[in-house]
Symmetry: D2
Subunit: 126 residues, 4 copies
């Protein structure tokens, strides 16, 4: 509390009926499964997989945060209207330099529906 909403915690039935709601709030991490230690590694966070969230002034995704385990790596803040309320998903690409294996997790924040968390993504670092 504030509740952390997770796509995976939602039961199958509910997931079907509320699929668009859940999908468009959930952040998804897109990155390679392997990284080279000490080299730049791009991590894209996109909010929504099949559906895009509204970008209304009173209802928008105001930030996206990227964690490695418990540790915050970076966070992006958005102002309403920058996606012109089109069907475009919130998307930001952070660049980090890993030194050992990571367990990435993203959180997105909707001004009406709170905090949503991605599945964790493991990255091997060699």
């Amino acid at each position: 509390m504030p509740k952390i909403n997770r796509y995976v915690d939602i039961d199958t039935v509910e997931r079907e009926t509320r699929k668009d709601y859940i999908d468009r709030h959930s952040p998804f991490i897109h990155c390679e499964a392997n990284a080279k230690a000490g080299e730049k590694f791009a991590v894209t966070v996109m909010v929504g997989n099949e559906y895009a969230h509204p970008d209304d002034f009173d209802h928008f995704i105001s930030n996206v945060a990227l964690y490695n385990g418990e540790i915050l790596l970076a966070r992006a803040d958005f102002v309403p209207g920058t996606l012109a309320n089109t069907k475009t998903k919130v998307e930001v690409t952070f660049n980090i330099v890993p030194t050992k294996k990571m367990k990435l997790v993203a959180q997105s924040y909707c001004t009406k529906h709170g905090v949503w968390e991605s599945d964790p993504v493991k990255v091997e670092v060699n």
Copy 2:
């Protein structure tokens, strides 16, 4: 995951032995129990009750966020060194205007030990 650490979730034994660790990371909300609808209402968040967190460059409280239920009201970001690494607690006072009863929760973020959450504080609004 990222784990939300809570003072209340820590068992009594552990709480005794690691009291300073837990105390200095936990945010505490200080505000009146009652507010007037439509009027300015001050909410102070202080990190630590008996103990102050370090303000080292590699170990500091980098932000404090205030929620009403699921909804973010405000967030403050800090740069290391602004407390001169003294025994001063991180403290910020947000001013909000409530319109109905609130359930306030604060989160603080330590650059080494992750997210910590306060007990919820109910505020009646008349």
Copy 3:
């Protein structure tokens, strides 16, 4: 560019005719003129002196930043609606620990009218 708007840069005539516009966007620093080295020092930033800025979803003050000379001390981010669109001014109190004399400057950001900067405030530290 982005232009930094300053109350003091606006000529007298314009200041009269557009007084409410200028006033309600300008951040004002409220603090003591003297601080004790190594001790907690409260700095309140209020946006607007005689007038309050709207808190509409499409037109609000989304952040306030506090600098000492070139150095950022803290920044607060706000979500629209937390002032319930009343005549309440945006206000946040940061607590810092000075070690030597400071030249504080605040900036506020309006989602329609950009960055506004306060007069600098000198604080002696003994």
Copy 4:
């Protein structure tokens, strides 16, 4: 004040002698010169052109902000150490949806040397 440092304001002589200092603090915008109205448009901000800024705990780039004229589009905050203090430049890619021509400007913030601003970049939107 806080001074906005600009690569272009620095005279030729100083620019030669302090080239690495100036270069590694300056944000550079990388994007297409033309965008389609209503479609996703990627804008990458990289801090430093030939030189990378340190990522020390007491000296790092803590945020990058992207403006269109006076209007903030997005801002990314970083925690020290996420670039492992390698020779990797701070880099973030924001995705926005333009509706008419833009004049993009980026600002980066160094915890020791303050605010730095890019040259403006004009983007035609058809």
